[in-house]
């Protein structure tokens, strides 16, 4: 329950630390998607717990000792915010100085994310994709059950007429805003990861208010699965194309005549891939959990 507040708090912390992009992601993930997933899992596992804690005294002692050691460790760290800490003296300086001229987009986070460290990001996207595959393997065994009786699928929000009407108004705006975040990521805070999560959040809102069956009829899980794979493929494909133009893998400088324009195109393309994968992944995860919950409720 308080996890939501926690997400909000940490996001405001990130804002004060200048990490606009990170705050963006944390805002969407920490405050929105994570509590929702937690709650859906809780509907399955039940709210009640035994409160027998195992040896809290020993655990507390252990935690205290570890914490004290770590604090001792921080005494050697450079002071907070000092500009000549080791973290700022290696590649970061180059990113800050060169990226505006080399890549031509103002948001350095995006340029580092999608160009200098494109390999890392490719890895992360593949991890997300793999996690989704794992969730689907674990949770969709009861799919036939839930398809057999869509009539009494979750309709608990039927009484909230005002909520439904207003949400109907808001959802298109949210989708539009997600697209804005997606394609504005090179000029302001934003990008594929954030846009994907916002997009997914809008669809999840729809699924919550109008029932899972309706949402699945609007956006089919089979198509989502294809899309999730397609996003990764698009990312990798851009790499292969840059390969074919004679540059290194994921080096976009030859995608257009002007290297700066080429890089810009490459970044937009892979951000699109990231966005598609993340959105599809989040919606699929939610479908899997919600479908499992309703399927189980009917089986009982």
């Amino acid at each position: 329950m308080l996890a939501g507040i926690y997400g909000l708090l940490s996001a405001s912390f990130f804002v004060s630390m200048d990490a606009v992009d990170v705050a963006f992601t944390e805002a969407a993930v920490g405050a929105g998607v994570f509590p929702l997933l937690m709650l859906t899992a809780l509907t399955v596992t039940g709210r009640y717990e035994q409160t027998a804690h195992r040896r809290p005294r020993a655990a507390f002692f252990l935690v205290l000792v570890t914490g004290a050691l770590l604090i001792l460790g921080t005494l050697d760290m450079p002071p907070f915010g000092s500009p000549d800490a080791p973290a700022h003296t290696h590649v970061a300086a180059r990113y800050i100085q060169v990226s505006p001229t080399e890549i031509g987009i103002p948001n350095m986070v995006t340029s580092v994310l999608a160009d200098y460290r494109a390999f890392d990001t490719l890895g992360e996207v593949v991890v997300v994709f793999t996690a989704v595959v794992g969730v689907l393997i674990l949770l969709t065994s009861g799919e036939q059950r839930q398809q057999s009786s869509p009539a009494n699928a979750v309709e608990t929000m039927r009484s909230h007429m005002i909520l439904r009407v207003v949400s109907k108004m808001l959802i298109p705006l949210m989708l539009l805003f997600a697209l804005y975040v997606q394609f504005h990521g090179d000029y302001g805070p934003g990008g594929g990861f954030q846009a994907g999560v916002i997009f997914a959040a809008a669809i999840i809102l729809y699924a919550m208010l109008f029932g899972l069956a309706k949402a699945q009829a609007a956006i089919k899980p089979s198509i989502l699965r294809l899309l999730a794979a397609f996003g990764v493929l698009l990312y990798g494909g851009v790499g292969v194309v840059s390969f074919l133009t004679g540059a290194n893998y994921l080096d976009y400088s030859r995608l257009a005549a002007d290297p700066v324009v080429g890089r810009h195109i490459g970044i937009l393309a892979i951000e699109l891939g990231v966005g598609i994968t993340v959105a599809a992944a989040m919606i699929l995860i939610f479908y899997a959990f919600a479908g499992y919950a309703t399927g189980r409720a009917e089986a009982e």
Binding site: L37, H53, I71, S82, T121, V128
Partner: protein, 116 residues
């Protein structure tokens, strides 16, 4: 010297809270929440490291010459999304455990395992 490090200490306190929850709670879901707190403390730590005093957000703007370090931002940005995906995987595992054993309490799980 001391006030310059308070940020790291907050991180450590958070981290230890998460650690404590992971150790003490028997409920697997609560363990996951503790893990999430731990994870977030690491995020905060990275972002604190990336902060430069007097710096501004790493988006090019006129009249700003000092920017914070964009590299930790990138790492954490992806880490958050990957974190939610892996957390979903963990929750899926918990759900399946509930399905197979009928409980998510660690001690009951161990009892059942021993009986088998």
């Amino acid at each position: 010297m001391l006030p310059e490090l308070y940020n790291y200490w907050v991180v450590i306190v958070l981290m230890m809270i998460g650690f404590y929850i992971v150790i003490v709670q028997g409920n697997l879901i609560k363990k996951l929440i503790g893990l999430n707190i731990f994870q977030t403390s690491v995020f905060i730590f990275y972002i604190s490291v990336g902060k430069v005093a007097g710096g501004s957000a790493p988006i090019l703007a006129e009249g700003v010459s000092v920017y914070s370090n964009p590299l930790p931002h990138v790492l954490i940005l992806t880490a958050i999304v990957v974190g939610i995906a892996t957390m979903a995987l963990a929750l899926a595992l918990v759900v399946r455990i509930k399905n197979a054993y009928g409980t998510v309490e660690e001690e009951e799980l161990q009892e059942r395992d021993l009986r088998c």
